[in-house]
């Protein structure tokens, strides 16, 4: 047989990190669309659709984005910022994990990618990196994922902002708690997290009379403290 004849293995196309990244995020773009539309309509109802839409890239996080918009109404701008940032506190943990993985990545990538770290990009990025040692491929995969998710997310928020009052007449509010439940649901398998969820939820309901935002901050502090106490007891 000729040495120049290509084997089937040689002509099999190598998996593309960019294509894998896009494919990983497309189902999530569809899943997150209802949540994003609710955020867009919330911004439209406040009369600030463009500013609300801008948060899709500036914040790049649905729960913080929605909480900030809702807290703004009753709690003021400072409370809204504090609430949004606190909700994104978990991103510290994700970044700390990625810091070890991205030791050999160029500085420009760490600056750009930092703004795109959120639950799905972190989880899918870690999964890909576990099976691929190439720093270049990991970089391309992460950027492809994050841009795909960002484009779909911002488009859905934009659609919600444009539809605005037309969607406002339809009762879609139930989408928000269902989306949030799906984010935190798997954590409920861990006893410490169950304690955190129960304490935080009870505090949030009991503190409902407090100015908007402060009740949520109390719930965060109380839930986190309860979780730490549970961890200490369990040791």
């Amino acid at each position: 047989m000729s040495s120049t004849t290509a084997s089937l293995h040689d002509i099999t196309p190598m998996p593309s990190p960019v294509r894998d990244g896009v494919a990983a995020m497309l189902p999530l773009v569809i899943a997150y669309a209802p949540f994003a539309i609710v955020i867009g309509t919330t911004a439209a109802e406040r009369g600030t659709p463009l500013a609300g839409w801008a948060g899709s890239w500036l914040i790049y996080g649905g729960s913080a984005h929605l909480a900030a918009l809702r807290t703004l109404d009753g709690g003021g701008w400072a409370m809204a910022i504090a609430t949004g940032v606190l909700i994104n506190a978990r991103l510290l943990v994700y970044s700390a994990g990625l810091a070890r993985r991205w030791t050999h990545q160029p500085r420009w990538f760490r600056f750009v990618a930092a703004g795109l770290i959120i639950d799905p990009t972190f989880a899918a990025g870690e999964r890909f990196a576990d099976g691929c040692a190439s720093a270049t491929d990991q970089r391309r995969h992460f950027i492809a994922m994050a841009v795909t998710l960002g484009l779909g997310w911002s488009a859905a928020i934009g659609a919600g902002a444009l539809l605005g009052s037309r969607v406002g007449g339809i009762d879609v509010g139930i989408v928000v708690p269902l989306c949030l439940v799906s984010i935190v649901g798997s954590a409920l398998r861990v006893p410490a997290s169950r304690v955190v969820v129960v304490v935080a939820a009870v505090l949030a309901i009991c503190a409902g009379a407090m100015p908007a935002g402060t009740g949520l901050l109390l719930a965060i502090a109380g839930g986190a403290a309860a979780g730490c106490l549970w961890d200490r007891r369990a040791r």
């Binding site: 999530l28 899943a31 918009l69 506190a89 139930i174 799906s182």
Partner: protein, 105 residues
């Protein structure tokens, strides 16, 4: 103007949370206790948001349908069901229960 300021404020604050470990912790690690506390804060934040969203959505006749839908969503989420299926199942139960409540009411 205020909404712009809030979007920028949350964006800058979130970016600082994201970039700080990447720049400062390239070779170090967070202590286990700090790691766990931050993780608990994130879960607590979302749980608090769920509670306030349920209160926001579940006013008056919508209370029972909302609680039923969120309870179903929780069960499905613990079992690892995909988000889109949770939304479809929960929303179906919500609209069905709302119809029943309005018919009986």
């Amino acid at each position: 103007m205020t909404t712009w300021a809030v979007m920028l404020g949350v964006g800058i604050g979130s970016y600082v949370l994201r970039i700080a470990p990447l720049m400062l912790l390239r070779r170090a690690v967070l202590s286990h206790g700090v790691d766990r506390a931050i993780g608990h804060a994130g879960v607590a934040a979302i749980a608090g948001l769920i509670a306030t969203s349920v209160r926001h959505t579940g006013d008056g006749t919508a209370a029972s349908p909302t609680l039923l839908a969120v309870a179903l969503g929780t069960v499905l989420a613990v079992r690892g069901t995909a988000m889109l299926r949770i939304i479809v199942a929960g929303a179906t139960l919500y609209y069905g229960a709302t119809l029943v409540v309005q018919t009986l009411g």
